[in-house]
């Protein structure tokens, strides 16, 4: 493996000295002060500054509600009395809301590099995790229940050793097992786990010590491999985390187990039979590459992975002989452990690995798709023989250095080797030990960061030398101590922070002497995250489905009115709009999202149908629809901003909706000459049977539903320039042209099918009276489909029909016909002049789907305004 640290010619300082000196390794200090405000005021006073006055009631309600639940307050929120007592009551009720857990789970999921999918895997394997939904829902539940933070971490790192089988708390271990697959390369999977645990809980960048001692922090390479050993001694297992039984699933699991047992047995026999060859191969090791090097192997090949297992065994047992008996034992190089295929795919010939993954995928798909299936967790379990790790010199597994015991980091004092199994539980206990000053500091800083927009330490997952120094070190320690003393209650910390004057102060200040506001002389305004914005839009429209938990849904499926937390996160393909709005990269542990302002965000707001849909829904609410113009504007303002419009706002809104809109300059509207539908090709009549219009227009395509493909009509789609046939022969897509006037017409068109795979598509041109005029079957080629002077009567149609070959595979096509009238005499009644041309592609996108009404324009603008997007 490669070594990945940028060389910096820093002064070489002995790391052991740093351990003593660096602030974050020091025990928590009891500073002078007994409230958040006292510490903050002291900082301000030193610079001769003052805090800002308390924000008004309306602002406080909006701030607290978005902060704790990620949702806007209801428009009926009573803002008449906002005494301290009243505000505390509001905070309590928000903390009791099930939506609190959803909002704060998302912050933790950023750190946990949460994804519903594994990322890139070979096709043999199911791409979606079986345990992502249970993990996400567990985090929500744990936060809602105010699970003590130390237990929250213990369960996520070593839940398997704390709770009984089938416990819902096993889902917690998704924290370790939801990372990328790294094409199955063990070293990288373990590296990812070390990284998420150490940066996530301790704010230490231990992964920097993979190749050599940490350049800045007291983390020697030995420490990295001490933790490496913990994870190397743990194997993945997929287990139910609910007590429900499902017979169908049990049968699938049994079948999968039997196949695995059979293939393991065969593999062990194969290796034993060729042990002499494996030993001989030791002389030729360079012929057997490492596991990153993917070779396709058959059952006659010596497996390089097993060759290296022989190497390790022989080194460890000098002078011993590998007898037939030894080879049958656990730990022998011929032994294949009884584990989930994810752990042991390297042991088998490629064909067998594929077969085993496919069998596993049948189980996985059942769990993912069937609502009757019990929830499953992917946990780590200790292997029967924990391994003693060896340092990989410069991170290279081929150059092994000293052995190191599995143990906790040396920066925390004298190390004692772990003794229980892999040591994972001991690791978790060391992390949550109240004497460990980092864990509490790191977490209270994360909480502070999400309340104030920035942590007291500005590098929330790096409390090392290279991280930021705390702006208020005494406050940080005071909070950390309170956190521990409260029994690690996260909700207690929210109450503590939100009851402070510091939190409740106004964000509007003209004093710019501290432009970054490090000293907190005012509140920092908050720009809504992507999730918050989408949830607020749907919520304003009155369409938010407040169901908590459950399977993910495609972000823009038209039926998806759930919170954005439940949008499918596919780490291989995060929707562009989510990336554009700074969604946390699910490949990496992200402690703080970047915040960018780019035009693509504005384009989404202006042009994507989503925001407009919400605007329309809001206008369709009965109390809005029925009201007169002025009341209507009041109700719109109440829903969007939870306030009444001011008189000038009311006036220009009224002006805006009543202003005569200049007529759209009319161009020949050919879009009416085209229809987009589907049906079944009938060879006997040469026409389409059961033509039905495609029901949904996205603005760029006609299809079954907003998502594509969708349950209604599968892949069927027509776009300006082409499309995709439906999933079977009953669902041919039909682009229909309707003749406006009698006459003869010429048709020019080229059908293009580009993919070189699959079995191609069939295409037909059919006249409503004359029947089939042309047909073609194409695979990866073009077909010219021209027709000269065809007679039409007004109302006759010409269908351009495409259906699948014998199967559904790579059937997308391009086909945008051009129709020209060849008659010059008569002017038709439809307004189309002779010698006219209808171009499928041009006519398709010449017109917006439908122009927004003035009211819709108004609401869309209000939904995109800064007032909507920022919380003061």
């Amino acid at each position: 493996m490669l070594c990945r640290i940028v060389q910096i010619s820093a002064l070489f300082i002995s790391t052991s000295l740093l351990a003593a000196e660096h602030w974050s390794f020091q025990p928590l200090k009891a500073g002078k002060g007994n409230s958040i405000d006292e510490f903050i005021q002291r900082g301000l006073a030193e610079k001769g500054m003052k805090s800002s006055p308390r924000a008004d009631a309306h602002t406080l309600i909006r701030r607290a509600t978005f902060d704790l639940t990620g949702l806007p307050p209801s428009d009926e929120s009573d803002s008449s009395d906002m005494s301290d007592k009243h505000f505390a009551h509001l905070v309590d009720s928000l903390l009791a809301s099930p939506h609190y857990g959803e909002q704060w789970a998302r912050h933790w999921l950023d750190v946990a590099r949460y994804s519903d999918t594994k990322g890139y895997v070979y096709a043999r394997e199911e791409k979606q995790w079986v345990h992502a939904t249970p993990y996400r829902d567990w985090v929500v539940r744990a936060l809602n229940e105010d699970m003590p933070y130390d237990r929250f971490l213990l369960l996520q790192i070593a839940g398997d050793q704390i709770v009984p089988p089938n416990s819902p708390d096993l889902a917690a271990m998704g924290f370790l097992t939801l990372g990328r697959r790294f094409l199955g390369v063990t070293h990288d999977i373990i590296d990812d786990r070390i990284d998420v645990v150490t940066r996530g809980t301790l704010g230490l960048t231990v992964a920097c010590a993979r190749c050599h001692d940490h350049k800045f922090d007291p983390i020697p390479t030995r420490d990295y491999y001490a933790l490496y050993g913990v994870f190397q001694s743990s194997a993945e297992a997929v287990v139910p985390c609910a007590v429900v039984r499902n017979e169908e699933l049990s049968a699938l699991v049994k079948k999968n187990r039997e196949l695995m047992t059979k293939r393991r047995g065969e593999q062990m026999a194969r290796t034993r039979a060729r042990s002499a060859d494996y030993i001989a191969a030791q002389k030729d090791l360079e012929k057997y590459p490492e596991e990153v090097f993917g070779q396709l192997l058959d059952d006659k090949d010596l497996n390089p992975f097993i060759v290296h297992r022989f190497t390790a065994w022989l080194e460890k047992h000098p002078g011993n002989e590998l007898t037939e008996d030894t080879l049958k034992q656990l730990g022998s190089p011929a032994f294949v452990p009884d584990e989930h295929i994810a752990n042991i795919e390297m042991y088998f010939p490629t064909g067998v690995t594929t077969e085993l993954w496919k069998s596993q995928a049948d189980v996985d798909r059942f769990i993912i798709k069937k609502s009757a299936a019990p929830a499953h967790a992917t946990v780590l379990v200790d292997r029967p023989l924990p391994s003693m790790p060896r340092v990989f010199i410069r991170g290279n597994p081929l150059t092994k250095g000293d052995e190191v015991p599995r143990q906790f980091l040396s920066a925390f004092g004298k190390q004692t080797p772990f003794t229980k199994g892999s040591g994972r539980l001991e690791l978790a206990q060391a992390i949550t030990d109240p004497r460990n000053p980092l864990t509490a500091r790191v977490m209270v800083n994360r909480l502070w960061q999400h309340h104030f927009g920035r942590g007291l330490v500005s590098t929330p997952s790096d409390f090392g030398k290279q991280g930021g120094a705390p702006s208020h070190p005494e406050l940080l320690d005071w909070l950390a101590q309170r956190f521990i003393d409260s029994g690690w209650s996260i909700k207690a910390m929210h109450r503590l922070i939100m009851s402070s004057k510091t939190y409740q102060q106004s964000s509007q200040s003209s004093d710019l002497s501290d432009p970054d506001n490090r000293l907190l002389s005012r509140m920092n305004p908050h720009r809504l995250s992507f999730e918050e914005a989408r949830d607020a839009w749907i919520s304003a429209a009155g369409r938010l489905n407040r169901l908590v938990g459950g399977r993910p849904e495609a972000l823009f499926a038209s039926s998806n009115t759930r919170r954005t937390l439940y949008a499918l996160v596919d780490r291989e393909n995060v929707p562009a709009v989510m990336r554009t709005f700074d969604f946390a990269n699910p490949d990496l542990s992200i402690p703080q999202r970047t915040e960018t302002t780019v035009p693509q965000q504005a384009l989404f707001g202006m042009n994507h149908p989503f925001v407009v849909q919400q605007a329309k829904s809001l206008l369709n609410r009965p109390e809005v629809k029925s009201a007169d113009a002025s009341t209507r504007i009041h109700r719109i303002y109440a829903r969007l901003f939870q306030r009444a419009p001011m008189s000038d706002e009311l006036n220009f809104s009224l002006g805006f909706v009543h202003e005569d809109q200049a007529p759209i300059i009319a161009t020949a509207d050919h879009s009416k000459s085209w229809q987009y539908g589907y049906g079944e090709w009938d060879e006997s009549t040469g026409k389409v049977k059961h033509f039905k219009p495609l029901p949904h227009f996205t603005g760029i395509a006609w299809q079954g539903d907003e998502a594509w493909p969708n349950e209604k009509l599968g892949w069927a789609q027509l776009t300006a320039s082409g499309g995709h046939p439906g999933n079977d022969r009953k669902h041919a897509v039909v682009r229909r042209w309707v003749a406006g006037t009698d006459g003869s017409y010429t048709i020019n068109s080229t059908l293009i099918h580009e993919p070189q795979v699959g079995d191609g598509i069939r295409a037909f041109v059919s006249h409503s009276r004359l029947g089939k005029l042309r047909s073609a079957t194409v695979l990866g080629v073009d077909a010219v489909m021209n027709l000269d002077t065809i007679a039409f009567k007004a109302g006759d149609t010409l269908d351009f029909i495409v259906d699948i070959g014998s199967g559904l595979n790579s059937d997308q096509f391009l086909w945008s016909p051009k129709i020209t009238s060849s008659l010059t005499a008569v002017t038709g009644a439809g307004g189309d002049t002779p010698n006219d041309t209808w171009e499928a592609e041009k006519d398709f996108s010449a017109q917006p789907k439908s122009q927004l009404t003035a009211w819709e324009q108004l609401v869309q603008v209000l939904m995109l305004s800064n007032e909507f997007m920022f919380v003061d």
Partner: protein, 450 residues
């Protein structure tokens, strides 16, 4: 309400200073030294084009046909005896560099091209090699070259994305990871364009409104400006103004992008020059984008891995090369005519090459070649490149790099260098470390610099 009379009027009145845009604060935005090239176009022949059939002639393969080669190496699959190239090579240009008939039209420009014949990747598998070639690391999630370039230099046109990846008909293997921004802000990641489409609204997401025409949008933006101005009165957050400007920028982007992607605005002779297939069209679009200041355009050959010819390489390579030879030659010619070749870097290559030995499937040959990461060719032309150069070589048979073995990190260091960036100084702090595209490696290939 005072509506602007014309679009021009509207744009001049919204009079934007560019300074406050959020992204400008995030990127380094300045080259480290005077750049030789200002923009990059990368033809990515995904799947792995065979070097011994294109830019690295190996007459020894004919001599040893059917016999084992001495430089044989382990690859993903089993391969057998020497398999001579079925394609004819000939010398081109003043430099006399040999190129196969597959790229005869491109070869007419060989005196502008530097061929690196000694490239090496790390393993013979697509996924890690794609990641290495695009992002500088086989396994870990790291920002792509295009993301680093836009981070380092910004876009040359605020109205267009700085980094565009076009692939007709779908995604290559590893999808959007090939142009990811990883830990860099999401705005630096490549904008994917499915170039099989012709209308702009199919090419770029949300670029055209399905529910409002320009006039309505102008009316809405005018209202939004008014609301936001009032809102901003009592507030001092610079993000408010940045967001106001982003809407006006977006409005202009709709017009500019639609124009950039509309090849019908090119004269017929230009469209003929590039050819009318999808590759001609995407290459012509790429030129229009580069002309407008887009920093990097990547042109993928197609969905999946079209160049991965384990079988019947003669037919398959011939067909694939025929699709892009003319567009590449047209681009080189066109850039030169416009005076753009001197500051545009053109890159050609795949994630690795192919074996000089024939692939065996169940012991039998289907006359294809397996993946080969030990040695393969990549070429560059244009901005700062010494044309008519051959750098490095593979062994007698073309199995492995022999003279001047060149890592992908070296290639990346050279590309950044040509763009005016020192690869050791272009860094980003993430997870406690200063990361760079070239990790701890990379040497600029000075012999191919002009």
């Amino acid at each position: 309400m005072n509506l602007p009379l014309t679009r021009r009027d509207f744009l001049s009145r919204s009079g934007m200073g560019m300074a406050a845009l959020g992204l400008a604060d995030l990127h380094a935005s300045k080259p480290h030294f005077a750049p030789k090239a200002k923009r990059v176009i990368h033809f990515f022949l995904n799947g792995g084009p065979s070097h011994v059939d294109t830019f690295d002639p190996k007459p020894a393969l004919a001599k040893y046909e059917g016999k084992p080669v001495t430089s044989h190496r382990i690859t993903e699959r089993k391969t057998g005896a020497a398999f001579p190239s079925p394609f004819k090579f000939q010398r081109y240009g003043r430099s006399g560099i040999e190129v196969s008939e597959l790229f005869a039209k491109t070869a007419a420009h060989i005196d502008d091209i530097a061929v690196i014949r000694s490239m090496q990747a790390q393993v013979p598998n697509h996924e890690p090699s794609l990641m290495l070639m695009n992002c500088g690391d086989s396994i870990q999630a790291r920002p792509s070259l295009g993301a680093w370039l836009t981070y380092g230099l910004g876009s040359g046109n605020e109205n267009l994305p700085g980094f565009i990846a076009m692939c007709p008909g779908g995604m290559p293997i590893k999808s959007a990871e090939n142009w990811q921004s990883a830990f860099l802000p999401g705005a630096f990641q490549g904008t994917y364009v499915d170039s099989q489409h012709q209308s702009v609204d199919r090419l770029i997401e949300n670029i055209r409104s399905p529910h409002a025409d320009t006039r309505v949008q102008m009316r809405q933006l005018e209202l939004m400006r008014r609301l936001n101005d009032a809102h901003r009165q009592q507030r001092s957050d610079p993000r408010l103004e940045a967001r106001i400007q982003s809407f006006e920028l977006a409005f202009r982007m709709q017009i500019e992008a639609a124009d950039a992607f509309d090849v019908s605005k090119e004269p017929q002779h230009m469209r003929d020059l590039y050819g009318d297939g999808v590759h001609g069209r995407q290459t012509l679009i790429a030129r229009r984008l580069l002309e407008r200041g887009v920093r990097m355009v990547q042109l993928w050959h197609g969905a999946g891995q079209p160049w991965d010819n384990h079988d019947n390489i003669e037919t398959n390579h011939r067909k694939l090369a025929a699709q892009i030879d003319q567009p590449i030659a047209a681009l080189l010619h066109d850039l030169k005519q416009r005076g753009m070749l001197e500051d545009t870097l053109v890159i050609w290559g795949g994630e690795f090459g192919r074996t000089p030995t024939v692939e065996l499937s169940g012991g039998k040959s289907k006359l294809g070649r397996d993946h080969n990461h030990y040695g393969f060719s990549v070429w560059m032309a244009g901005g700062g490149i010494k044309g008519g150069t051959v750098y490095g070589s593979t062994d007698e048979f073309g199995f492995a790099a022999q003279e001047n073995p060149t890592s992908v990190h070296d290639l990346h260091a050279t590309i950044l260098h040509l763009m005016g960036l020192n690869h050791e100084e272009l860094t980003y702090r993430y997870a406690g470390r200063d990361f760079r595209l070239t990790d701890v490696y990379g040497d600029v290939l000075t012999p191919i610099l002009a």
